[in-house]
């Protein structure tokens, strides 16, 4: 056990701290939840790229900083920004998913055209993966792309396309080979959201906001060269990106920050003459959550060490999404309970706390438990890949159909 990073890294940490001290005031105020970054956020992004605090390992010729990959330095950057409460680089789906995919599998032309403006926040992307009939079983997607002369003609529907309203571009999985086995008939296309035939409808969720959209395609014509990878290889192209998405939902710094906000809330909320934290039952739950947050923090350090050694990580890594999303949800749940009746206030009500953020989080985090691979799919993955348990045998028909047949 050695938690020292060494002099090179201590110096690097100091450098990040100095940067935050001298430039931190230029960061956009608060968390910028808007899909289209503000001018302020774009300027901040530019400054961060110049200093190598975001887009760090992306080659210079594509608009990045061009540093050698160094997991520990990336971790130090994330830690210091989080500690200072200053937003780091833009973290949208274009940057986290499309850019790594293009760098790995795109053509030279695609890389030159799209990576830099995406990094700079000039081009906003949305992701067209899930469909109403293809959620956990994403590979069963049906949106079709038929070859017609030099175009694909796309028809179908996508769902959960966050930022589709604001996006300039979409990276989208479509079925190009109707007769191929399901994993082999998919292609990965990129096209403009201004293409005729695209309709975006906001999808209002339980939070009362439309954080997502449904996107409909009717005879949308996309030139065939706007494919990433080969025809029929889209499933594998997309899986390369899903790998890059890893970690986005299981950020231990975010959990710690939410937890500290919860402690503060419980110290400030009054129940009669006392504080919420003076209630022994609530306080017991708080301490229990703190231990869980600590466990996930150290689990994250263990994964980081494994990565540094080139070790794939195993069980410690497989459980992160399941545990972190549930824990985040439980932190919000305790906040609501600590507020008592105040906890139900929402929609800008009088006496509402923190703009209803705890209620919004509580509901949205339930969405995160479901999205990005449901908790149940995560458990399958843990059992099958982590514990080497057998897969569920495939049934041709639902059991009810079998029963009816038997009765007949």
């Amino acid at each position: 056990m050695d938690l020292e990073c060494g002099p090179e890294y201590d110096a690097f940490r100091e450098e990040v701290r100095q940067f935050l001290k001298s430039h931190g005031d230029r960061a956009p105020a608060g968390k910028d939840r808007a899909a289209r970054p503000s001018t302020e956020a774009v300027e901040w992004q530019k400054l961060l790229i110049e200093h190598g605090y975001t887009a760090r390992t992306i080659p210079k010729e594509y608009g990045g900083y061009g540093a050698e990959p160094d997991i520990l330095k990336s971790r130090i950057i994330a830690e210091e920004f989080s500690r200072a409460g200053i937003p780091g680089g833009l973290a949208n789906q274009g940057i986290s998913m499309l850019v790594p995919t293009l760098l790995e599998l795109g053509t030279e032309k695609q890389k030159r055209q799209w990576v830099e403006p995406t990094l700079k926040g000039e081009v906003v992307w949305c992701q067209g993966y899930s469909e109403p009939g293809a959620g956990s079983d994403l590979a069963s997607l049906k949106t079709s792309a038929q070859a017609d002369k030099r175009d694909f003609v796309i028809n179908g529907q996508k769902i959960w396309t966050s930022t589709a309203k604001e996006a300039d571009m979409i990276f989208c999985l479509v079925r190009t080979e109707a007769d191929a086995p399901k994993h082999d008939g998919i292609s990965y296309l990129i096209f403009s959201m201004d293409t005729p035939g695209i309709e975006v409808r906001p999808l209002k969720t339980m939070t009362g906001h439309a954080e997502f959209n449904e996107t409909f395609f009717t005879d949308v014509r996309v030139p065939m060269d706007q494919i990433v990878g080969q025809r029929g290889q889209g499933w594998f192209v997309a899986n390369a990106t899903l790998g890059h998405e890893r970690g986005m939902l299981g950020d231990p710094d975010a959990l710690e920050n939410r937890f500290h906000a919860l402690v503060k809330l419980m110290q400030e909320e009054r129940i009669g003459q006392g504080r919420a934290i003076d209630n022994a039952v609530l306080r017991d739950r708080l301490a229990a959550l703190q231990a869980e947050v600590a466990a996930m923090k150290y689990n994250g350090m263990r994964i980081l060490s494994d990565n540094l050694k080139g070790d794939p990580g195993g069980m410690a890594k497989l459980i992160v999404k399941l545990q972190s999303c549930e824990l985040a949800h439980q932190i919000s749940a305790l906040a609501i309970d600590a507020m008592g009746e105040i906890g139900i206030l929402y929609h800008g009500s009088a006496r509402e706390r923190e703009g209803g953020a705890w209620q919004w989080n509580y509901m949205f985090q339930l969405g995160l438990i479901i999205g990005g691979g449901t908790a149940q799919i995560q458990k399958n993955i843990i059992a099958e890949r982590g514990l080497d348990m057998p897969r569920e045998p495939k049934l041709a028909k639902p059991a009810s159909a079998e029963r009816k047949k038997g009765a007949a």
């Binding site: 020292e4 306080r283 466990a295 150290y298 410690a316």
Partner: protein, 363 residues
């Protein structure tokens, strides 16, 4: 930076695991647990040969002077094998106490005997956490009165380390006049606890440090108990997965049913982060004293909660067989139950964690 076990610690882990798989099969555990002498001399002497008995004893007293993280590595393996041997009190807590607060004569007399396995020292500090049944020991001019419950590694102990009401520790030989020893029988037959009744018992005090050594023992004890739960939980999860991979019902391996598979996944998902939590707590004990108590509280309470779930869920995966004595799964179940209650259950430990952070206003 390297968060995790060193190469040496992995070798230690593997050596202890091999030693236990050779000397401590479940049949042997059963023999000990069902017999009169609860501890296994055979396993104890094999561990002694590896240096485990003296691992926490400073080198100048013939020990190996190892760290609490090393001890946690061993504890995990002992629990994995449900080994009926003394470890926590005699080979971890007593050496820490004597090294920190014992005088030269006490160290010279007891530490080499701990290394050789000649003598064991039981530790009774339960009342520094919470007094049950009115227990508690007072020190009246060097003579002890009162009762100490849950002296750990009670059977055949050569001496007892007992905390008085101020938290100061005293060394009491097993044959001291006025000392009455009453064994307590617990769910866990692989370990031994008992009650000490004092009537004007002459004792040798350790340094009067305002309870600091007793607090160190609580921290260390909690980390070791948490590590023990992890080892027992690991064994139970492996057994559940193994059983689910063999047992067939409805023409299928039951492990292919998601209802069963998800129980196993939930156990693994909750169990795995505990390992990092306990490693960190052990490391804090060794290297970050300011964080040690809080980290030990988190490790103890959280692994206690998680492994209660693991113990019952792994048993359920085994169906009716899990409930029988035949399979012996209950040895691990009970080991986890013991770990959870001793040195403060989760609620008591969390209250302590809250106090440590100033979450509770002094009334």
């Amino acid at each position: 930076m390297d968060f995790g076990l060193s190469q040496d610690q992995k070798m230690l882990r593997d050596a202890v695991a091999r030693c236990l798989s050779d000397t401590c099969p479940l049949d042997h555990v059963r023999e000990c647990a069902e017999g009169e002498a609860s501890y296994s001399d055979k396993v104890q002497s094999a561990l002694s040969e590896l240096g485990i008995t003296g691992m926490m004893v400073p080198e100048q007293h013939d020990g190996l002077g190892m760290t609490l993280l090393d001890a946690a590595v061993v504890a995990e393996q002992l629990a994995y094998a449900v080994a009926p041997v003394p470890f926590l009190a005699s080979h971890v807590l007593a050496p820490i106490a004597l090294a920190q607060a014992g005088n030269e004569q006490q160290q010279a007399e007891w530490l080499p005997k701990i290394v050789s396995g000649e003598a064991r020292i039981a530790v009774a500090i339960a009342e520094t956490i919470e007094a049950r049944d009115g227990a508690g020991v007072t020190n009246n001019g060097g003579k002890l009165d009162g009762t100490a419950l849950f002296a750990l590694e009670f059977a055949d102990a050569g001496a007892f380390l007992v905390a008085d009401a101020t938290g100061r520790l005293h060394l009491v030989p097993a044959d001291a006049e006025g000392l009455k020893k009453v064994p307590l029988t617990t769910i866990d037959r692989t370990r031994s606890v008992g009650e000490l009744r004092f009537a004007q018992v002459a004792a040798e005090p350790l340094a009067d440090d305002g309870g600091a050594t007793a607090a160190r023992l609580r921290d260390a004890g909690r980390v070791i108990l948490a590590a023990d739960s992890i080892g027992a939980g690991q064994a139970m999860i492996e057994k559940a997965v193994d059983y689910a991979g063999q047992r067939e019902q409805f023409g299928r391996i039951i492990g292919s049913f998601q209802a069963v598979k998800h129980m196993c996944a939930e156990m693994a998902a909750r169990h795995e982060p505990c390992r990092s939590l306990v490693w960190y707590a052990a490391h804090a004990f060794d290297a970050a004293p300011d964080e040690a108590s809080l980290a030990a509280c988190h490790a103890k309470s959280h692994t206690g909660e998680v492994h209660r779930f693991v113990a019952r869920t792994a048993t359920e995966v085994h169906g009716g067989m899990g409930f029988t004595d035949l399979l012996g799964l209950h040895y691990w179940f009970k080991r986890i139950g013991f770990d959870r209650q001793i040195l403060g259950g989760p609620e008591a430990v969390r209250a302590e964690a809250a106090t440590l952070q100033g979450w509770i206003h002094a009334a």
